[in-house]
Symmetry: C2
Subunit: 226 residues, 2 copies
């Protein structure tokens, strides 16, 4: 569960200040399935990066599982991300010299999971996102949507309690996006995983129980949906 | 105008053959506005890369404006791309150390357009894709959808006769995507630019006059639409 209080992020470009997020107050509970939408440039990626500790706020507080993310050391943040948070980057950030399977296993290796277990889990998750047979391909030899799914697989394989995903279906056709969302909804129902996605995709929004809309760095609305 | 005859692309992974495109026959006429759709991995990016000469076919013929692209030297292909073809990459491929404006001006500089003219054109096109005020930002300091629009701006600024765009709205909200498509439709109507887009976005498909559907590397259907 995640809490933001009076969160602000201002980027500096020389002497110009760019307010990317303005006074964000948000509470996400365990097992929530929340969508973050808003125009290009409205602050979605910035918010996700702050919540995971990949970036630091200008002011305000962020709590993840009761811990003040904005005050943690880099080492502790890395530890938290390793054990609690799965992150799907808007630009995937796959390691080009590793295969799809090795990319997915990477995090589990850091988590000290043994070799056989890693191989079994990574092959299973790659199959579940529709990439069976592509385990040994490097990212550069995969299509855009295939790379995106490797990024998703990597983020969910070790069953994090919180998944932050930045536009996870942007490069997927509706059928592939649909089956991915079904997989994630199952994780939410069966494992209690908390989900916060940013998206422009109505299909994804329809899967969420709550929609938070951003506009020019502010929360415009925050409503439950059927 | 573009013609493909019995076009095949087979990737080799060690001793494994991956048929990415199978017996593609396609004709695109001057001033067409064509959408290419199909599941993730169906061959859209591969086809666009072949048409622009960025990749070479395994067999078959490709003609752009009467010239055999599959037989041209690298130098001639580069020349053709410089003067005739605008290309929007699925992963943008912006130059990280150049500003948005410098990225857009890059091609014009190669085309020998003078400094003043380049500055005027690049600022205009960046304004038209909604990025006014962001000219001096580097790609790393822009949102995903802002980077995507710089990539589009770069491809269209010098008024190419053929625009090939690989999922050009994947990271855009519907409003931004809508105004981008209106800009491109205007170019099609007023300048006779030929468009071939790959997309998963129904909004983009609705702007096209013709929809080519790919499936497992083959053309499944090729139909005019209202
Ligand atoms: N490093 C940076 N330096 C300066 N400004 C930045 C930087 N990163 C982002 N911005 C600006 O902050 C604002 C929010 O960016 P952000 O990436 O969070 O938007 P977004 O909602 O994810 O957009 P998109 O849907 O296009 O991905 C944008 O106006 C962007 O230009
Ligand atoms: N360099 C490569 N080596 C081996 N296989 C490749 C290579 N590039 C692409 N492929 C394969 O060729 C097929 C077509 O890929 P392509 O990138 O054209 O798909 P796409 O339709 O653009 O998909 P997406 O919608 O996900 O972007 C895919 O199965 C992909 O894995
Ligand atoms: Mg973003
Ligand atoms: Mg592609």
């Amino acid at each position: 569960p995640v809490t933001c209080r009076h969160l602000n992020k201002i980027y500096q470009q020389g002497h110009i200040s760019i307010p990317a997020l303005v006074d964000i107050n948000l509470e996400i509970h365990q097992n929530d399935f929340v969508c973050l939408s808003g125009p290009s440039g409205s602050g979605k990626s910035t918010l996700l990066n702050l919540l995971s500790g990949l970036d630091t706020p200008t002011s305000g507080e962020i709590e993840v599982d009761g811990q003040r993310v904005d005050e943690m050391s880099r080492a502790n943040l890395a530890e938290m991300r390793l054990h609690k948070i799965g992150f799907v980057f808007q630009a995937y950030n796959l390691i080009p010299v590793l295969s799809a399977q090795e990319n997915v296993e990477f995090v589990m290796q850091l988590q000290g999971i043994n070799r056989q277990e890693r191989a079994k889990k990574s092959r299973t998750i790659l199959k579940e996102v529709g990439l069976k047979g592509l385990e040994n391909r490097r990212p550069g030899d995969l299509s855009g949507g295939q790379q995106q799914r490797v990024a998703v697989a990597r983020a969910i394989v070790s069953g994090p309690s919180l998944l932050l995903a930045d536009e996870p279906t942007a490069n997927l056709d509706s059928q592939t996006a649909e089956s991915l969302m079904q997989l994630l909804r199952t994780m939410n129902k069966e494992h209690g995983t908390t989900f916060l996605f940013s998206t422009h995709d109505k299909l994804v929004m329809d899967y969420s129980k709550r929609l938070v809309k951003l506009h020019d760095g502010r929360i415009k609305s925050d409503e439950a949906q059927a």
